[in-house]
Amino acid sequence: MAYANLGSANRGKKLRRKRLVNRAYYTPLIILLVIILVVIFSCGRKKESSRLVIGLNTQIERLNPITIKNPQTFQVAWQIYEGLLDLDESGQIVPRIAERWETEDNKVWVFHIRKGVTFHRSEIFDTPSKTRNVTSHDVLHSFTSFCSPGAYPSFVLADSIKGCAEYSAGKAKRVKGLRVVDDYTFEIELNKPEPFFLYRITSPWIAIFPKEANIEKYKDRWGLDIAVGTGPYRLLSKTDNQIVLVRNEDYWDKSRIPKIEKLVFRVIKNDQMRFSELLKNKIDLMILPNSLFFSVFDTDGNPKQKYKRRFKFKEIKTFNHHFIGVNIKKIRDIHLRRAMFYGTNRKEMVKKVLLGYADILSGAIPPGMNGYIPTFKRIYDPDKAKKELKQSKYDGREIELLVHDLASSEQICQVFQKQMKNIGINIKLTKLDFNSVIGRMVKGDVELFSMFAEIVFSSPEPLLLNLFSTKKIPVPNFWHYSNPNTDKRLEELRNLTDRNASLKACAEIEREIMEYVPAIFLYRQNQVVMFSNAFSNLKINSHNHYMFEKMEKLH
């Protein structure tokens, strides 16, 4: 018994010692853990004073002007790169790298390059200051690159500039129509006169970048960790999920030196997560996706009070349009096409799916494009639609309509399907990924297709020439629209130097085209940008160019 007591006393001592040892070990460990957590959490909340964080929904492509195609990448790239010209917020042409320009016959255009414009400092330059002035040789290099076989935007110039189409088809070694006159004078010769040529190159897409981008050792890095332009911001770092741009202190236009020091673009794909980050002030600005319209706006399309207090909303009218393309070769019956045209209630679509954030379209040209006024007055007319359907040879068969996963295509087409059912046309929706829809559009083996387009031209003339000329069949004249009279009238636009006369002619041509219904143009969606009310002066032009350099942070 005594032994047992002794044993239990010893055990008690041991236990106490063990507890003391444990406490001695654990106390500093717990303190250390608390310190680490405090440091971590304070790191997470650190915020710089002069920076704007922008939330994006897709990954940023390589920042190489000739391969960019994603509008979200443009938001980033157009802070770094500039073109010869640009548009201001009201849609007027403003000079950028080209100081002035002249033409005598609308066929040969001479651009005078602004002196004193320098590229961003970069290792690609061998000069002591790691930068150099922009010259017409860089303009030649950039325009030639835009005509190369792998260039996505080559369609903007291929028809217009002499020798561009041959170069992009690999049949010529240089672009004949591009000439360097001297270091600061550059000449562009066109195939035919184009009084509207400037409106082809107002988009910053046709950017000027240094010829050093072609040096072998920088080729693989160009657009990834090296992106050199002349814009108000320069690239600081780029990963897949985050791009940081910093103010270009050497920017040539001192009145446009950015007020905000850093732009941070963050990719958060999930709409709800991106929105939560905005509400938590972790990002300052995002474009509202359609999926969030119903949580942010009330049924009348006005921002809910709780968001109005903390955020600003800006509606942008860009040059994009959404349409249901009709393959005339497959749906030959003009009365059936007209029935679909007049039976489409665009207002209902826009109200139901986009809460009214879109402008209804009757034709391919967005209203307001360079002062353009559409001529159609009444486009939804169910009685007329039924009358046209009676005249047609439609036998009640199902007509296939291809839809994709972007830009609310499926929802819009479901409304369209219902509206067609009401007038007696059966539509079958087939959902494919966006690229597959394009593939089938190009092949021409589809009857109807839902599509949207970001228009790079800023005037109706090049747009109509591009979409409806017979020689543009099958791309981008996907509808196989061919009319000798339209072709003749489109060519006549080249001789109209008076802007008003040209715009009037465009309206008449568009009216003629729409009589044959090559497509049912639906609406131009107005983007809604939601941003923290700590910022002001957000300017965006119709090319969807965010001029962040004008933005200010309120104190």
């Binding site: 971590i40 990954q59 391969t67 792998g150 080559s154 088809a169 690999g170 999930n270 394009i438 591009n466």
Partner: protein, 302 residues
């Protein structure tokens, strides 16, 4: 002889993967040149780009050229924007492997924690049931919402620049770990319970061997063999699971790259991803074969 046999087996497997991926993607009825240039490009430009990418040559010639190049680790360049495939795929694999590594750590801690005592084994039993029956896309979304709402680290910058980037990874890694965690923990607990009832453990208890030594030195060592076998079987699921998790949490790993490359019909990138994936599976198989024989000397290389 063993080495020769193994090398021949795995080389033929690798060749099969390369051939399969090449044929599969080149049979898809779509034109990468058209996708690169978009719907506005002229047909002549598309044909010119096809020539530049070598897509106009017969399929067998394209395959042999490709085979020749990849033996020199040259996987070519992305059709879409000319990024070098090998560098891009390796960069993304690093991110995915980090994700997988984090989830392996979580699994390891959880499974060992689950066998510590009878009480913990009971808790783990119920938790395992929950983990196995919750699909990744559901638990992923749930945790992603909680993360965005309550965690200061709800964003991954794309490279490991700060502590925040590492802390962020705990959330997707936990989601990725859930299902295998349930399975593996269940296997280990059942095996442990079986072994703890066996004669040699009763004998060890009778000899007064400390409980911890019995648990970890005798029982666990024997229970770990089926655990490793199950672990190696679960490894492919880690990668496929990682793809879903990457999409939910916007982690720019191999899964997101794969989805983007499929949508853009970026053949060189797709082939690069599949070959590297195949290579990783072969290497892990080899690793586990070696680990078996190290853990249990009764398993010989025969």
């Amino acid at each position: 002889m063993y080495l020769v046999k193994k090398t021949a087996y795995y080389s033929s497997l690798m060749l099969g993967i390369i051939l399969f991926s090449f044929i599969l993607f080149h049979m898809v009825p779509s034109d990468p040149a058209r996708i690169i240039l978009g719907p506005n490009a002229e047909e002549s430009q598309v044909l010119s780009l096809q020539r530049e990418l070598g897509l106009d040559k017969p399929l067998y010639l394209q395959f042999f050229n490709y085979l020749k190049k990849i033996t020199l680790l040259d996987f070519g360049k992305s059709f879409v924007d000319g990024r070098p495939v090998f560098k891009e795929v390796m960069g993304k694999f690093f991110i995915t492997l980090t994700l997988v590594f984090f989830s392996l750590l979580i699994i390891l801690v959880y499974t060992l924690f689950g066998i510590h005592s009878v009480y913990l084994r009971k808790i783990a039993h119920y938790l395992n049931f929950l983990f196995i029956s919750t699909p990744t896309f559901f638990s992923g979304l749930l945790l992603a919402i909680l993360m965005v709402k309550y965690s200061p680290f709800s964003f991954f910058s794309g490279s490991f620049e700060s502590i925040g980037d590492y802390v962020f990874f705990l959330f997707p890694a936990f989601v990725l770990a859930l299902y295998p965690m349930g399975i593996l923990s269940r296997i280990l607990i059942e095996e442990m319970e079986r072994i703890l009832k066996s004669q040699f453990i009763v004998a060890a208890n009778a000899f007064g061997v400390p409980k911890r030594a019995i648990l970890y030195r005798y029982a666990l060592r024997n229970a770990v063999i089926p655990y490793i076998a199950a672990f190696s079987n679960q490894l492919p699921a880690f990668f496929t699971g990682a793809f879903i998790v990457e999409v939910i949490f916007s982690v720019p790993g191999i899964g997101l790259l794969l989805i983007r490359s499929i949508l853009e019909r970026d053949f060189p990138m797709l082939e690069g991803i599949i070959i590297m994936n195949g290579l990783i599976f072969i290497l892990t198989n080899l690793l586990f074969e070696t680990v078996y024989s190290l853990v249990d000397r009764r398993i010989k290389k025969s």
